[in-house]
């Protein structure tokens, strides 16, 4: 006898259930998106020691602001933009206290030390370069290149036109290319 397939509840349904008072729906949303959010913040250079707190704060803020979620972009995209802004605010706070710069720990499957060193160097340069981009360039670049989102979705999330999203991506890539070279 086969096990009945579990119906996947959409984010929209979970949000509606949470707004109706079902806490388990909020927990499910957190389980569903916490990992992707953490990875998205990590690729922007969020320190490992702060990562879980950042994820937690982002999700908490998102639930508190659910009334303003219009559903133009997906819940995840909305979360990622909230997280990015929170990270930016935290960076300002961290800038006022001494921090230890961490080099990305990049492993290379070939095990070739020179390849590992090169990969580490380019990853570090890219991380620096991403940090130097203008806000919209950085967000468009990461949502497109890292999350693989279509321009239309990015445009809705950032409240810009699709054409503007394409232009920001183009400029971001150009600047990163020059930075890494």
């Amino acid at each position: 006898m086969g096990v009945p397939a579990t119906a996947v509840v959409s984010d929209g349904d979970l949000i509606a259930r949470y707004q109706a008072g079902d806490e388990s729906a909020a927990a499910e949303l957190v389980r569903r998106h916490a990992g992707a959010l953490a990875r998205f913040l990590a690729i922007q250079g969020a320190p490992e020691s702060e990562l879980e707190d950042l994820v937690q704060d982002t999700l908490f803020n998102a639930f508190r602001a659910l009334g303003r979620f219009r559903g133009g972009a997906s819940f995840r995209t909305w979360l990622l933009t909230i997280g990015t802004n929170l990270l930016k605010d935290r960076r300002r706070q961290w800038a006022r206290r001494p921090v230890i710069e961490l080099t990305p720990d990049v492993a290379d499957p070939s095990g070739d030390p020179s390849a590992v060193a090169e990969a580490t160097w380019t990853a570090q340069k890219l991380e620096e370069g991403i940090g130097k981009l203008a806000r919209l360039q950085r967000e468009v670049f990461l949502l497109r290149a890292h999350q693989g989102l279509p321009y239309a979705e990015i445009a809705r999330a950032l409240e810009i036109s699709e054409g503007a999203a394409r232009v920001h991506f183009h400029h971001a890539v150009k600047r990163l290319k020059a930075w890494i070279r």
Binding site: A26, A27, A65, A123, L126
Partner: protein, 161 residues
């Protein structure tokens, strides 16, 4: 179209390497623990500052103690205002006192007893000036010292007769 294919090779490789590192860091985040903490905060912090896309928007959170203090202050101010209104509309003097609906029928008192009762009430009011009695007072409205004074006055007036 794969977004990675839009990237120059160097950037694509670096992004992959960076993503591998991000994945390692992601593994340190426990979604279940995050869920429990977020739920706990949602229960204990009804309103909080919210950072949204496009900048930080502050939704003011008033601590519960502050809200309680504000409610108490409002009660005190409202009470004081009511007192001023009551004082302003009160009928002063013996006319007010003569209208006291006390449990003892006034017409059953002798003139001396009635005068003693009135005097006792005036004395109590003078002593207790900070909280003057309202214009219509029943025995239930009198405080313990006022009742004692009233009884003493009645006993002494009976003794005098």
């Amino acid at each position: 179209m794969d977004p990675m294919s839009e990237l120059p090779d160097g950037i694509a490789r670096a992004l992959k390497a960076l993503d591998a590192d991000a994945a390692r860091r992601e593994a340190a985040v426990d979604p279940e623990r995050v869920a429990q903490r977020v739920l706990a905060r949602l229960r204990s912090e009804p309103v909080a500052p919210v950072a949204l896309g496009g900048g930080t928007h502050w939704v003011w959170s008033v601590p519960r103690t502050l809200r309680l203090a504000a409610a108490l202050a409002l009660l005190v101010v409202a009470g004081a205002a009511s007192l001023v209104i009551v004082r302003g509309s009160r009928i002063p003097g013996p006319a007010g006192a003569a209208a006291l609906p006390v449990a003892i029928p006034v017409d059953s008192l002798s003139q001396a007893q009635a005068e003693a009762v009135l005097k006792a009430i005036e004395d109590v009011r003078a002593v207790n000036a900070a909280a003057p009695a309202p214009s219509t007072v029943s025995v239930e409205d009198l405080s313990e010292p006022e009742l004692r004074a009233l009884l003493q006055a009645m006993q002494s007036s009976e003794g005098a007769l």
